[in-house]
Symmetry: C2
Subunit: 110 residues, 2 copies
Amino acid sequence: MKQYQHPTIDQITLTGVLHALSDPVRLNFVQCLANLMCEQPCGSIPTPVAKSTMSHHLRVLREAGIVYIRTEGTQSLTSLRLDELSTKFPGLLESVLKAALEESAADPAK
Amino acid sequence: MKQYQHPTIDQITLTGVLHALSDPVRLNFVQCLANLMCEQPCGSIPTPVAKSTMSHHLRVLREAGIVYIRTEGTQSLTSLRLDELSTKFPGLLESVLKAALEESAADPAK
DNA sequence: GTATTTGTTCTATAAACGCCGAACAATGAT
DNA sequence: ATCATTGTTCGGCGTTTATAGAACAAATAC
């Protein structure tokens, strides 16, 4: 397909990260990514939105520095930039993911 | 003046909190609030926006469950709901504030 | 009473956002 | 070459957002 541009660590901003994670669809996707612990094609994670919408969300996550995307064949493999984010903002993504987990556990609906 | 409505702990959502903190003006205000360690009138914290805009931002922070606002005389006193947020999302606000501090330390401009 | 202070609400505007379908691109399979 | 798979990009639509100024409300000071 094509190659993607990713921000370097010092280009990542806190507000950018928070904004990217503040959308339910994106947060849920990041949560799945963290659970699976390995890079995933976009299609392997179920989403409630159209694929063009998901492409937009992945772009936001990528430009915020949260995920790394590479292409292999026809699919684009997405992985969390966990190490780099932990370097830039220690504990941040961890506590967000923990909070997301607890919230979804407390609310069995949806 | 008037009294405000605040969400209960279980009405607070993670995406709501993240969204509220993803705006630079709001995040900066929350940072100041955390540093001062006590409730503050809105006007005591310098902001780059008009007071009507700040009123809007405070409303967002209040409705997200991040701040508590009460009125005394003509001024409205704002305080962080740190304890309640720590109960709902342990470590979250702490790591966001730590990240904000480190980011502003790394970038002496602005 | 009038004036001052502090903040809210209203109205408007411009930008950003989330969403989708259609068209397109690139790879892989038949 | 044709078809299927996997995503991206584009155009558009409706909603939300950040912003500010003007008008308003309430408490305080004079």
